[in-house]
Symmetry: C2
Subunit: 274 residues, 2 copies
């Protein structure tokens, strides 16, 4: 079986002193540099493959401090504190001696205890009943995901509807999404899907606007058993903005398993230039 | 005018090499150690007072890696990357050579541009029309805030209602809150208020459950002018949980100005022991 392109993209080579070398993947190229989701997945992967790792991810914050150039990079992944059942990490992505990304993560050994959802999965048709969307070919990483939009797909920029700035616009996107070709879900893949949403400002303005994630935080509700049960089936992802103000907007989303259980909640703040 | 207890709590003394010394405040004591909100505010303050600071905060993530003991601590605040209009920071809180908290922050020079809210402030009575709640005296830091709960106040643990685990329970808390005594709102005070919510699991289970924030991320939508306009009036804060699962739950909230504009959105993941 050939290696999945996602595994190639997040592959790391362990060096000495908590350092790992990697290389950006042409398959996950964005308009400029790599897709931020796969960058977040790669930083998380440095912890997942680290020999000192304790448990599974609970929280991951990635800050995109500067552009990531196509080419090699070094990750520096340090377990800054290990407790009995939790472990705190710091990860940096370095290129040419400059820090391009910083990250922190919390890992934990989970144990089964009282659990209960508070919010429910959006009611949508099952994935097979939602058509697959053809995404713009100019964004390479779109080809690595099968997307079936229930709501809030990529606007048709050649034929935009009139936008009235004075009224409320809902930027919610809801889609079934999976790796293309299919790949069993794991924590790096889930971290990447947490960033799969097109910029909310595209939907709000109905036209392309320069925008880029500045900081993303994802909380992992799933454990390894839940991911194994999910396998390579599509997950349901939904996100909306809360506020656009003077060059930055925020976005909050959730990612749901095919069994209707929450896999991850995810939040980000995004720079935009209007 | 005497120094406000919040200013005493977040006060730092600059040392060499990006280091600052501080001391926990008895006025903001929690059941064990300091209130996490004031810890987050103190870490943010290290950047605010740092001579290399560029602009105002956009994002702050604080990870509570280990207990903070009552007493002195050292903060290490490093500007890891400075761009033209954004700056990325790393801050650690160290006690006895162990890292107790890690943080990352994004600061930015904002410029006025197209802005628009997507969500609206909850419709609630004005602050003067909501009674001030007496909070349990055993938690010292409660005394430093005036809280007027519209919804989801501290449960009466001596006389809890029956809780049915099989049905949905809304853990939303909505309250008017301000520093006590009143103090003009600034970024550290806003960062602290982002953590002012009692643990959602108290509301869900209607009984005290050991719980503690593991990681909090706040996004600042307000700029300095908006904070100045807010002054020392109460802000409206609202939060709910999304999912409780095997020892961790998440919480998402928003903090609104008295003019109805969003000041901050805030998210956290919380450990609980059932």
């Amino acid at each position: 079986m050939p290696t999945h392109p996602f595994d190639t993209a997040i592959a790391l080579h362990a060096e000495a002193d908590n350092r790992f070398s990697g290389h950006t993947s042409a398959a996950y190229a964005n308009m400029i540099g790599p897709f931020g989701g796969v960058t977040a997945a790669t930083l998380l992967n440095a912890i997942c493959v680290h020999p000192a790792r304790l448990g599974d991810p609970v929280a991951l914050t990635v800050n995109y401090a500067g552009p990531v150039a196509d080419g090699p990079f070094t990750l520096h992944a340090v377990p800054v504190r290990t407790n009995r059942s939790t472990q705190h990490w710091r990860v940096d992505l370095v290129q040419d001696e400059a820090i391009a990304c910083t990250a922190t993560a919390v890992f934990a050994l989970r144990r089964e205890t009282w659990s209960s959802p508070e919010i429910a999965r959006p009611e949508v048709p099952d994935a097979p009943n939602v058509p697959v969307n053809a995404m713009p070919a100019r964004v390479v990483w779109f080809k690595q995901y099968e997307m079936r939009f229930v709501q809030g797909g990529m606007p048709d920029f050649r034929n935009p509807p009139p936008v009235d700035d004075t009224t409320h616009h809902d930027t919610t996107s809801t889609l079934w999404v999976r790796d293309e070709p299919p790949r069993p879900l794991d924590f790096p893949a889930l971290a990447s899907i947490c960033d799969v949403f097109i910029p909310r400002i595209f939907l709000r303005r109905q036209r392309p606007v320069p925008a880029g994630t500045v900081s993303i935080t994802s909380y992992f509700h799933a454990d390894a058993a839940q991911l194994a049960a999910q396998g390579s089936q599509p997950v349901l992802a939904t996100a909306c903005a809360q506020n656009f103000r003077n060059g930055f907007f925020d976005q909050s989303g959730t990612v749901w398993g095919s069994d209707g259980k929450l896999l991850a909640s995810t939040h980000q703040v995004v720079y935009y230039k209007e």
